[in-house]
Amino acid sequence: MGEEFWTYFWVVGTFGTYIAIALWARASSTDDFYVAGHDVHPMVNGMATAADWMSAASFLSMAGLIAFLGYGGSVYLMGWTGGYVLLALLLAPFLREFGKFTVPDFVGDRYYSTAARLIAVICALFVSFTYIAGQMKGVGVAFSGFLGVEFNTGIMVGMGIVFVYAVLGGMKGITYTQVAQYCVLIFAYTVPAVFISLIITGNPIPQLGFISNVKGEDVAMLEKLNTVVQDLGFLEYTQSNKSMIDIFAITGALMFGTAGLPHVIIRFFTVSSAGAARVSAGWALVFIALLYTTAPAVASFARLNFIDTVNESTYVASDADYDAAAAAIVADGGKPIPEWFKNWEKTGLLGITDKNGDGIVQYRAGNDNEVTKLDRDIFVMANPSIANLPAWARRRSVYRGGIVDGDLIFSQS
């Protein structure tokens, strides 16, 4: 089976599933359409909220960002999860209690003012459009790559598909579609994480591997990472060059921002009561935490592994016969550049410049760095191959144009 077949298989399969779910959950009343009839189970709603809210930024970019920022990346971890505490304690149950469909409805009724309601509508539209612009770019890239059409046409096709299942199924259809998305998302994220954790620390649970020793060595994984990055001239991993006040303020902004996202808040209208809304926020955070506590582990493993395999490796220039060239390098006692590096080089997300002409890749901080192109998203996208996963698992992530199917799946929500 060729790459082409699997690409079609996954894309047609996922969107086929979504449309099937929408047909099955067809909305038959206003209540069904906007709030799924108020009868979604809190846990199911929590899962749907998690999938709805975790987009390409969480899935694809966050671990890569943390890998580079080290402690500085904590702002995303604390910020994007801490907002749910505010949501559960201060917002969701009270809005649900009021029993309206949307936040502008609530604002308008609570403050007896059409003007306030109008302002709330404008705010909601502004936030939603800003949010969806990023998501739609992902849809455009994915569909244009997959169908081999212009970027704009790709967006139109993607939007058309989303339109069909959103209009058919309403909130109910979207809820169950998102449950399906969450399952795909968390599987695609945690499986490589488990394997890479096993390889580096010998512990299958990434969260525990994160605080364990390096496999077969008497040194903590984070401690080793600190030493390794410092030796190459980078800042210690557990430190940040951001000031404390910056970290404090960014974390705060992200927390309050998360608590106010309209597409998250509206999810709490779909459960049966204020009590159910509280429980649902708890479940949402459980499902989010599954990814969010894995991400920092993945980030540190990936950084360590990247340095370990790429730094001081001998570059293989020819694309044609990697295996033979790599074997020759090993026979000479050298370390060949990993094959996944060569694969991702083609997408332009990775690239080297042999500045000192010694044929060996030096990864450093500063001007001597020979890894001149290093897209941060690579750490998640290349993870399955970095972790040496079997081909069936790898194929799903090596996507034409360098897009993981995961991105495509949730970028539409």
Partner: protein, 88 residues
């Protein structure tokens, strides 16, 4: 406290809700802004497994506490609603 079932003690209920909310928000603040940011250098002198404690709070620990906080809040609110006869 004398419980009257004919009239709901809304003020008492609300006072308890506020106290609960403030206490939980204090913990919320302490584990993230406190342990993860303001006092992290201090906490980094300790470690959990192989990770500096302050760093761990910022990247993992605070998230676990957040989850616990929300579920505790659910239970406590259900109890309060029962106590004041506000169950639906």
């Amino acid at each position: 406290m004398s419980e009257t079932h004919t009239k709901i003690d809304g003020k008492g209920y609300w006072r308890e809700v506020l106290r609960l909310t403030l206490a939980l928000l204090a913990i919320w603040f302490a584990v993230s802004y406190g342990a993860g940011i303001l006092f992290r250098d201090l906490l980094d002198n300790l470690s959990i497994g192989g990770a500096p404690l302050g760093f761990w709070f910022a990247q993992n620990g605070s998230i676990y506490v957040f989850v616990g906080l929300i579920f505790y809040y659910c239970r406590a609110m259900a109890r309060l609603e029962k106590k004041y006869g506000l169950e639906v």
